[in-house]
Symmetry: C2
Subunit: 445 residues, 2 copies
Amino acid sequence: MTQASMDAPQSSVAELAKRASAASRQLAKLSNERRSEILTKAANAIEQNAERILDSNIRDCRAAEATVAAGQMSPSVFARLKLSTRGVEEMAARVRDVARLPDPLGRCLAATELDQNLVLYRETCPLGVIGIVFEARPDVVPQVAALALKSGNAVLLKGGSEAIHTNEALVEIWRDCLESFPSVPPESVALLQTRVDVMELLKLERDVDLIIPRGSRELVEFVAQNSRIPVLGHGEGICHVYVDRAAHVEKAIKITLDSKTQYPAACNAVETLLVHQEIAAEFLPRAALELTRAAVELRACPKTLALLKRQEVVQAEEADWGMEYSDLILSIKIVPNLDDAIAHIRRYGSRHTETIVTEDAEAAKKFMEEIDAAGVFHNASTRFADGFRYGLGAELGISTGKFHARGPVGLEGLTTYKYKLFGNGQTVAEYSSGARHFTHRILPQ
Amino acid sequence: MTQASMDAPQSSVAELAKRASAASRQLAKLSNERRSEILTKAANAIEQNAERILDSNIRDCRAAEATVAAGQMSPSVFARLKLSTRGVEEMAARVRDVARLPDPLGRCLAATELDQNLVLYRETCPLGVIGIVFEARPDVVPQVAALALKSGNAVLLKGGSEAIHTNEALVEIWRDCLESFPSVPPESVALLQTRVDVMELLKLERDVDLIIPRGSRELVEFVAQNSRIPVLGHGEGICHVYVDRAAHVEKAIKITLDSKTQYPAACNAVETLLVHQEIAAEFLPRAALELTRAAVELRACPKTLALLKRQEVVQAEEADWGMEYSDLILSIKIVPNLDDAIAHIRRYGSRHTETIVTEDAEAAKKFMEEIDAAGVFHNASTRFADGFRYGLGAELGISTGKFHARGPVGLEGLTTYKYKLFGNGQTVAEYSSGARHFTHRILPQ
């Protein structure tokens, strides 16, 4: 490689990825104790450098204020950019949480004696290099760095340009901390700078093992369409609450309200309420009243409109059934039966999280078997679909794909496995010829 | 949709996929007993229709003979196309093998009590619709249909055009068999006809959950590049045997010979032999002699050439280190130490299967930790990397990707999981407010 090409900006990401890949091989060798020690030290470093982080954040916020004033940044994006002292403490606390999680590596998933002195193990190991592309929210940096290192992976981060100084400060603190451990290359964590960098990252199939886009649906779509590296992310969260004819009405109201209003911007918030026709007259007027009190805009099917004629409800259009409002808006549809509810969800749902409210165990069983989604809930709010609530200890994101990891993804999503076979000189010819026979005895793990 | 567009051929695959998707929802509801019963009946039907299958195969073979004569089909492809009575019996036997496998569905992967009366289960379930694109070998049809149905999935098959009559006969026999079960839609198994059909299949993201290409590297590449549906397949098998300085020479010779000659066309055959310089003089002349006797062409590094100067060895070129010969050809390189062997494998290996031959447990441990491949073997032939030999009962293929399934993929590769949450009206607001607390108690499975 010539000096000119080394200096060229388009080669820098490839170079960072190559170094991260080399670093990941060192990380894979560290014990869990050492990985946790690094995280604890990083958490301390974040606290000790709180002022530096906040100063950088003030620079970003000042620049962003002008953008907000010009109407080019929404106040909610600005709010997520802005860090407080409390926010920095929270960052450190989350890193310590990850340090305390059980070791995700070297777990034996299966062990089989193929024959005497020929034993096969399936064991978890790191993926290698993780690329994360995210928007705003600088707290993603320590969170993702912690998850990646805990699972023996190197990480390349690209945050939003509006948080560039905060992200740089955070990554520098991590790298300084890594440098104090002799066997841990600081190249394990690196920050990419520009959108051009992202385009290059997406092409580095050989050195980057996984891309995680965290942000808008457009970002996730863009990444998926422009990379052949596996992508872990969710497109949409079009979740449903189905109130069955055998529903307990109080529970149904509670669950609907929580699913819609507890945090409407979340992907696990409900977008469409489906109601069995036999319970609609009893349930819907009360539910609508509570929802309207909670400032939820209702968009309903004609039957619902007829039932709620005195209340403030607008007619739903076809497009409403496939819409992720991410806001205090709820579409409502009365269905003739459970099968029609299932059919509606199949047609419009995004395979994220679906809830049935019913006291009929058979109906619940049918719903939970037949709905194809990452989460199928009985008598619980859709908002429970979350890594912390599931007890995973940390969450990388929620996957609506069916591959590798589905639903809330924790540390396990950053690992794969390898088969280790321990032999004594065995050849396949001995077994094909019939001279030896496989025992295939499952061993206790 | 107008009548004209419904009749257009480009809609037919979409229609087949939609029906397969509907069928898959019925399949998902069947008990393991019923799924196994269907497979047993299909195996019987294959035997009862042996003559019909063989007649169709004769038609395909007659057409193929002309192609072979014209030099447009290799004799090995022709050999794989041709079926014997014994071959049909084998097909039925393999279907019965799959019928006997343990149920891959409804397995509880994890159970957590989130709180009193709020319990989360992670449970295996079918993927939905599997698309298989394969070349020649009509025995793929019953094998894949059996694996798909056993795991509750529908399947769309596209075989090579040279086997069209055989494949049609086989799919008809399966569908006739399925029709005799009232709750099992015959649309669960369908055959695509043309290359245009394949292009359409690759675009059906909503209805097709997984594509498995079985055939040449070109086929796998083509599928991966033309579809956003997840693909399970392996590109290349560039496997290495590394003979460490502490190797037992007899074992090293046995393992090298078996890895290369037991079935050289297989993806798990060795392509490059790496030899520690301290054992080269003792090991290589004897190994080379045995390999040459077994008609293996040797392509070696200069140091090896110097050592084997009286034997028939040609000099390896740079391209040899990255080549999957799939033939009786082996490249040989002397390396200064274990680290260089690992570095060579990292650079040229395809992450399939790598073997170290050594009596030094530390060297073995280092190799098995640091090599990033689906299989890392100690003192065993690379040819063991196979679903049957691993005891998976059946093999769909070998994955060199790190996602979802790695290495030999059995029934489990056709399943995903869903989270089932059973509650009693709980809301997230109760937990955020601190009124209730998660217990996150791991339950015995």
